[in-house]
């Protein structure tokens, strides 16, 4: 494990920038998927508006966070697809490029291409969310944390599959677990009180709860804030580090 960490930073991410550009070129052709995700989110927000307009701020923030989560999850599909169908691991990992450069290049490339619709939702949310500079900064940091968590878990999971079709079931499981079942699009206060601490340990719902609290849509105790923020920081750090080490390790069994 120590030797896995021993690469100098300049070498550790070699190839990241170039592979990021590759991934941007590849993903940019998926404009239809981007447009569709935008429309789906738009329709959901319209439903919320019709059902209960007071939930709109929470739903907009949830939409931003969950979009970041789904962007991270695209890494699961993309990494598995490139490894299984295109043998891109063999091509890229047997080269001076580093495994973590490959993983992060792919993840950031997807982020750059798909972040457009999220920015649109963010701009529209100005209409309903009482932003302050502090809330904007918090939103940025939490969205980044959710994306890092999702992209890292996505990359790690992608290495376990030998068949792309097997991934679909797990993708929907993650989608439902992290975005539908636990409170991301709706306030934490509507979630069963006994299970709230569980929700606060899941990065998307923890980030959503912190944002909801910052705009006064949910009230969190100090302990709950500490649990959500501390848990999120620790989980994201550990999973990102784990994904980098895992990328290095699995580059030997591609």
């Amino acid at each position: 494990m120590r030797s896995e960490l021993a690469l100098a930073p300049s070498r550790a991410f070699r190839g990241l920038g170039s592979f990021l550009w590759t991934e941007i070129l590849v993903q940019a052709h998926e404009w239809l998927a981007m447009g569709t995700s935008m429309v789906v989110q738009g329709v959901l927000l319209v439903f919320v508006w019709i059902l209960d307009p007071s939930l709109l701020p929470v739903s907009f923030l949830g939409a931003i966070l969950f979009s970041m989560f789904t962007m991270g999850q695209r890494v699961l599909n993309e990494a598995a697809y490139l490894r299984i169908d295109h043998k891109a691991n063999d091509l890229y990992l047997a080269s001076p490029m580093t495994p973590e450069g490959y993983f992060l290049g792919m993840a950031i490339g997807i982020l750059v291409v798909y972040v457009g619709p999220v920015l649109v939702i963010g701009l529209l949310s100005i209409w309903v969310v009482p932003y302050t500079p502090a809330i904007v900064l918090l939103l940025f940091l939490l969205a980044l944390a959710v994306w890092l968590f999702s992209a890292s878990t996505g990359y790690i999971f992608s290495t376990f599959f030998r068949d792309n079709r097997a991934i679909w079931a797990y993708s929907s499981l993650f989608f439902n677990l992290f975005g539908v079942l636990f409170p991301v699009f709706y306030p934490l206060s509507l979630f069963p009180a006994d299970l709230r601490s569980v929700a606060l340990l899941l990065p998307p719902s923890a980030a959503a709860a912190l944002l909801q609290s910052s705009i006064g849509a949910t009230s969190l105790s100090e302990a709950q804030i500490a649990l959500a923020a501390g848990g999120l920081a620790v989980e994201v750090t550990l999973i990102l580090l784990g994904a980098i080490l895992w990328a290095r390790r699995t580059s030997r069994e591609a």
């Binding site: 690469l7 070498r11 070699r14 190839g15 170039s18 592979f19 550009w21 590759t22 070129l25 590849v26 993903q27 940019a28 052709h29 998926e30 169908d85 295109h86 043998k87 891109a88 691991n89 063999d90 091509l91 890229y92 990992l93 047997a94 080269s95 001076p96 490029m97 580093t98 450069g101 290049g105 580059s251 030997r252 069994e253 591609a254």
Partner: protein, 308 residues
């Protein structure tokens, strides 16, 4: 860079799969590839060729044994080996939403080449592979052969000191295959070393300086194509067709292989006239041709299968 381009000693790989018996893919493979050489690994499907290539290209860890590339231990220091190598993976495909030009260029950039160098090498590789007319079309619209040419272009453009090519010309038409051969010969003239696997024995014969025949995870024989062909026991093959041919009649001339309707006899030139005289007397149809690598391969591998 020091040492041989590639050197392996008693390399073993055992695949452990939960719930299934372990599979010993390599059983002590020792081989060497000298600098500037073109070497082919031949073998049936599942013989261990791809496993060897994956270990050599740092993508798989051996169970035991040792392997070095330019004097660097592949298993212990893959990071030192990777700048020296490039791989055309078996069944690899270019990114479907990149054009061949983008694919080659972005790969070179990911390997750390400067923009200008990457651009120049991209154009050269595209031209060598005859991809000019489709260079700006998305790979998803290309034929299988064109995609494979894109993969080869991607890797030859690196001009890496050691190239691994796992069935590089699969799916290509005869013209494209010859383009690939020319490019690979050009690379070795520039100093690169090649290790390839192929099921096209004509390709192996034309392209490689030396060959290793692998079966069941072991190297059966190694040598030049000529040496392997000589090991068959003659340099000519005579194919006889007609009623009532019995292999026993011709076994004194050399090895005989019957495929039902025809009998192939391997013979040395001094005894050809004698054999043809018998064929004429028996009113058999006879065809004469040189022994090919295919005969040598079938004989070497067939003998090994029979022995097991």
């Amino acid at each position: 860079m020091t040492g041989e381009a590639l050197w392996s000693d008693r390399l073993r790989k055992v695949y452990e799969t939960r719930g299934a018996p372990p599979v010993e893919a390599l059983r002590g493979v020792s081989l060497e590839v000298h600098r500037g050489e073109r070497v082919a690994l031949l073998g049936r499907n599942g013989a261990g060729k791809t496993t060897f290539l994956k270990i050599a290209s740092t993508l798989l860890r051996p169970t035991s044994g040792r392997i070095e590339i330019f004097g660097e231990d592949v298993d212990r220091r893959p990071d030192r080996v990777r700048p020296y190598i490039a791989v055309v993976p078996q069944e690899g495909k270019p990114f479907f939403h990149l054009t061949p030009r983008e694919q080659v260029y972005t790969y070179l950039r990911a390997r750390g080449l400067a923009r200008e160098t990457a651009r120049a090498r991209t154009e050269s590789a595209i031209e060598q592979m005859g991809l000019e007319s489709v260079a700006d079309r998305l790979a998803i619209t290309l034929s299988g052969g064109q995609r494979q040419r894109t993969m080869v272009a991607t890797v030859i453009a690196t001009e890496a000191p050691l190239l691994f090519l796992d069935e590089p010309s699969i799916g290509m038409d005869p013209f494209a295959r010859r383009d690939v051969w020319d490019s690979l010969r050009g690379l070795t003239r520039k100093g690169s070393t090649l290790l390839l696997t192929t099921h096209y024995l004509d390709e192996a014969e034309v392209l490689s300086d030396r060959l290793y025949i692998v079966e069941g995870g072991r190297v059966l024989v190694q040598g030049t194509a000529e040496e392997l062909k000589r090991s068959v026991g003659g340099t000519l093959k005579v194919t006889l067709q007609g009623p009532g041919i019995v292999a026993d009649e011709f076994q004194s001339f050399g090895a005989c292989v019957s495929d039902g309707s025809a009998l192939t006899v391997i013979v040395d030139p001094p005894r050809l006239a004698e054999l043809l005289q018998i064929a004429v007397q028996r009113k058999l149809t006879a065809g004469v041709g040189p022994v090919t690598l295919e005969e040598a391969f079938l004989r070497v591998v067939g003998r090994s299968i029979n022995a097991e």
